[in-house]
C-alpha cells in the first residue's frame, strides 16, 4: 500500500526557524528542535530542515541541530542547505540526520549525488529541485527550468531532464519546489509535480504554494506525489498535522493515521 507522507518544513537561519515568503521577508517562528518534536507528536511523517543561510561558519550550528534533533525526535528528518561535499553529508548523517538534501551544489557538480549515494546509500540523498515555468512552448506544452540561488538564477537546465539525471546518479528522492507557486498559498504547481512524478521511479515530495488542506489533497490525488510538504500553514497554527491527515483520509488518500 502506498501511503502519502505529510512533511512540515522548517527553514532555519543560524539555528532558528524562519519562513520565507518567496524567499524574502523572513519571520522568526521559534526553536527548530522544539517545533520538530511538536510535529512528531502531532503525527508528522518526517521533518525537513532547510538551512537557508548555509554559510561556512554556520556548519557547526546545523550539525548541532542534527545532533539535538536526534535526541528529541524519533521520526526521520532531512537536512538541506550548504551541503557541498561528502564530508558535509557525513557530518550531518553521523550526527543523526537520516537524509541530506543537495541543491545548487549538485547543479554545479552532479557527481556529488553519486558520491554521497555511493558512500551512504541512495536512501539518504534527496535532490532538491527549484523549478520555474518557461510558459507554453510552440507545441503548447509547458517546460520548466531548474533555478538556483533561491530562485534568482536560471541554470538553463530542463527540470525533467535534471530529475532523470539525478535519479540515474543515485538520488533516493526528489524534493520539488515550484518557484512560481512558492509563497503564493495558491496550491502546488500540479502540472509540474505530475510531470516529475511521471519522469522518475523514485519518490517525489511536492513543495511550494500550500495555503489550504485541499492543496495537500490535490498534490496527492491529482499530481500523485509521494509526499506533501508545507511550512506556514503548520507553523502559524492555521492547521495541525492531524487536520492535514484527516483531510487526506477523507479524500481517500492512504496516510498513517493522525495521532493528535
Amino acid at each position: 500500500m502506498k501511503t502519502v507522507r505529510v512533511i512540515p518544513c522548517l527553514d532555519v537561519d543560524d539555528g532558528r526557524v524562519v519562513k520565507g515568503v518567496n524567499f524574502v521577508g523572513l519571520r522568526d517562528a521559534g526553536d527548530p528542535v522544539e517545533l520538530a518534536a511538536a510535529y512528531d507528536r502531532q503525527g508528522a511523517d518526517e521533518i525537513v530542515f532547510l538551512d537557508i543561510t548555509a554559510s561556512a561558519h554556520n556548519r557547526d550550528t546545523i550539525i548541532e541541530l542534527a545532533r539535538h534533533t536526534a535526541e528529541e525526535v524519533f521520526i526521520p528528518f532531512t537536512i538541506g542547505g550548504g551541503i557541498r561535499s561528502v564530508d558535509d553529508a557525513r557530518a550531518l548523517l553521523r550526527a543523526g540526520a537520516d537524509k541530506v538534501s543537495v541543491n545548487s551544489a549538485a547543479v554545479a557538480r552532479p557527481e556529488l549525488v553519486r558520491e554521497i549515494a555511493g558512500e551512504f546509500g541512495t536512501q539518504c540523498v534527496v535532490v532538491a529541485v527549484d523549478a520555474k515555468s518557461n510558459g507554453a512552448g510552440a507545441d503548447g506544452s509547458t517546460t520548466w527550468n531548474v533555478y538556483v540561488k533561491g530562485g534568482r538564477e536560471d541554470t538553463g537546465i530542463d527540470a525533467l531532464d535534471w530529475v532523470r539525471q539525478v535519479a540515474d546518479l543515485g538520488a533516493g528522492e526528489i524534493l520539488l519546489t515550484s518557484m512560481d507557486a512558492d509563497g503564493t498559498k495558491a496550491g502546488f504547481d500540479l502540472e509540474l509535480t505530475r510531470a516529475v512524478v511521471d519522469a522518475v521511479e523514485i519518490p517525489v515530495v511536492a513543495s511550494g504554494g500550500v495555503g489550504t488542506l485541499q492543496h495537500l489533497v490535490d498534490g496527492a490525488l491529482i499530481a500523485n506525489a509521494d509526499a506533501v510538504l508545507a511550512a506556514s500553514i503548520f507553523h502559524f497554527g492555521e492547521h495541525t498535522i492531524a487536520d492535514a491527515k484527516r483531510a487526506l483520509l477523507d479524500a481517500g488518500v492512504a496516510v498513517r493515521p493522525p495521532t493528535a
Binding site: 500500500m1 502506498k2 501511503t3 502519502v4 507522507r5 512528531d40 511523517d45 545532533r67 536526534a70 535526541e71 524519533f74 521520526i75 526521520p76 557525513r90 548523517l93 553521523r94 550526527a95 543523526g96 540526520a97 537520516d98 555511493g118 558512500e119 551512504f120 546509500g121 541512495t122 536512501q123 539518504c124 533516493g172 528522492e173 521511479e201 523514485i202 519518490p203 509521494d226 509526499a227 498513517r256 493515521p257 495521532t259
Partner: protein, 213 residues
C-alpha cells in the same frame, strides 16, 4: 554491568546514521553504546546491528572493521540480537544488490529487489501484518502498527521465520525471528511510538535473557 540499564552494543562500522538507533535504545532504558570494540560487544547483554545504504558497502565495512566475527559470536551465544534494515539484510546469505558478496548467512534466503512497477525505494510508513503474534518483539504491536520503511530490497526467506510482513503491494518481509535473533526491515528508531514499543520489547527480551544466565 548495571542490571537496571542493560548494556546494549550498537555496532559502529562506519556507515551513516547509527546514532538514532543508539538514542532510541537509551530512551527506553538501555545503556546503549555505539562501539567497534569486540570486548565490549562480547560483554553486552544485547547487540544491535543497524544498517543503511548499499548491501555490498555495508558488508565490506562490517568485514573491514573486524565486526563480522563478534556479531556472529553474539548470535551464536543466543543473546538477544536485533538487525535493522540493511542490518537485517546482512544476516541472510546474499543480496541481489551485490551479487557475489556473501552475507553473514545466519538466516536462510536471499535479499531480493522489490517488484517492478512500484515506487522504489519504499520510503514511507506502512502497517505491519503480524504473522506470528507470539513474537515477543511485537508484543502490543499486533494490531496493525505503523512503521517507517526505507528500502529497495527485502529478504526472501522461509515463511516459518517471518514474524510480520507489510503490503507493498505484495507481502514484504518486515520482521524475522529465529530464537532470539530478530530483525526488522523498517527502522524502529524512526517509527515514533510504535518503534519505541518495539525497542522496549527488545530491551525486555535482553533483561529476561540476563535473568536466565
Amino acid at each position: 554491568m548495571n542490571g537496571d540499564r542493560p548494556l546494549v552494543a550498537v555496532l559502529d562500522y562506519g556507515i551513516g546514521n547509527l546514532r538514532s538507533a543508539q538514542k532510541a535504545l537509551e530512551r527506553v532504558g538501555a545503556d546503549a553504546r555505539l562501539t567497534a570494540d569486540a570486548g565490549l560487544i562480547a560483554d553486552a547483554a544485547g547487540v544491535v546491528l543497524p544498517g543503511v545504504g548499499h548491501f555490498g558497502t555495508c558488508m565490506d565495512q562490517l568485514r573491514s572493521t573486524g565486526l563480522e566475527q563478534p556479531a556472529l559470536d553474539a548470535i551464536e551465544s543466543g543473546r538477544p540480537f536485533l538487525g535493522i534494515c540493511v542490518g537485517m539484510q546482512m544476516l541472510f546469505e546474499a543480496s541481489e544488490e551485490a551479487p557475489g558478496v556473501p552475507g553473514m548467512g545466519v538466516m536462510p534466503g536471499t535479499v531480493r529487489l522489490l517488484p517492478d512497477g512500484i515506487v522504489r525505494p519504499q520510503m514511507q510508513w506502512n502497517r505491519l501484518d503480524v504473522q506470528r503474534p507470539s513474537c515477543p518483539l511485537l508484543a502490543g504491536l499486533t494490531d496493525g502498527a505503523w512503521m517507517y520503511f526505507v528500502h529497495s530490497y527485502a529478504p526472501d526467506t522461509d515463511p516459518e521465520l517471518v514474524a510480520a510482513t507489510c503490503d507493498y503491494p505484495t507481502p514484504i518481509t518486515a520482521v524475522t525471528e529465529r530464537g532470539r535473533l530478530w530483525a526488522t526491515q523498517f527502522h524502529p528508531e524512526k517509527s515514533g511510538d510504535a518503534g519505541k514499543r518495539l525497542a522496549e520489547n527488545f530491551l525486555a527480551a535482553v533483561r529476561a535473557d540476563q535473568c536466565r544466565r
